[in-house]
Point group: C2
Chain length 127, copies 2
Amino acid sequence: MDALTINEAAETSGWSPRMLRYIEELGLVEPPRSSGGYRLYGPGELQRLRTLRQLLDRFGLGLGDVGFARRMQTESDLRTTVEGWLRSEAARPEHVPADDWLAWEQDKHERLLAEATRRDTTLRETR
Amino acid sequence: MDALTINEAAETSGWSPRMLRYIEELGLVEPPRSSGGYRLYGPGELQRLRTLRQLLDRFGLGLGDVGFARRMQTESDLRTTVEGWLRSEAARPEHVPADDWLAWEQDKHERLLAEATRRDTTLRETR
DNA sequence: GGAACCTTACCACGGCTTTGTGAAGGTTTG
DNA sequence: CAAACCTTCACAAAGCCGTGGTAAGGTTCC
């Protein structure tokens, strides 16, 4: 039993118990549960909680921002569409009819997705 | 003069003048200015405004979300740190000492930044 | 020059997010 | 088995976000 229950985890991580539950609700840190339903925070979860706090402080983010970043990683159509929109900031295509643009981006996304799926395998970043 | 002033742009884009200023404040659509300081919305800006609305509606986002996505594209240290944190969600490195992880990510960032700076001669002074 | 437009800078409000607290009840463990 | 912990749920306060309005003043253009 080297796992901490929620109040212990709260003390060593700097978050309140309430916030630990909220963070779980956002899908940011989801500890496993005991057979009776208790949250069990292991070293990995505790570390993620501490670095999460540093991340937020250092860049002035909110939990919602990290949640959104997570959506961007998860929902590839979201990511490609948002990135497409941002890219149009610098070089915008005058020749694409206004109401077609989003549809066009989506088509592009589907092409990309089909391609990615076909070649499958991990798209993990190299580092 | 094929550029619209803010009220005209508001009418054809569906945003209120107030929101157009707000959107500019978030760095999402920044029209050029006339010599007297009037915002001038060209076809490109108008298109971006319309697609922005579609983007928000389709994925249920807020303007703040898109602003954050933009920061992620702009600030490479933000991006790498957030992505690093998210990556630790699935496979967390038990072997990395807790307090070293963020520092490690930051070091990585500084290496990247140094590289970028070295090859970009026109950056303003850092302080 | 004057009408009609634009600028920035505030204050304000309704709604959603964040966070706390308490109630009612189940789990762990000495 | 009892003390101390945990669970979920709900209510509530504080704060932020999106949005409107208005005031004081500058720009455009007929």
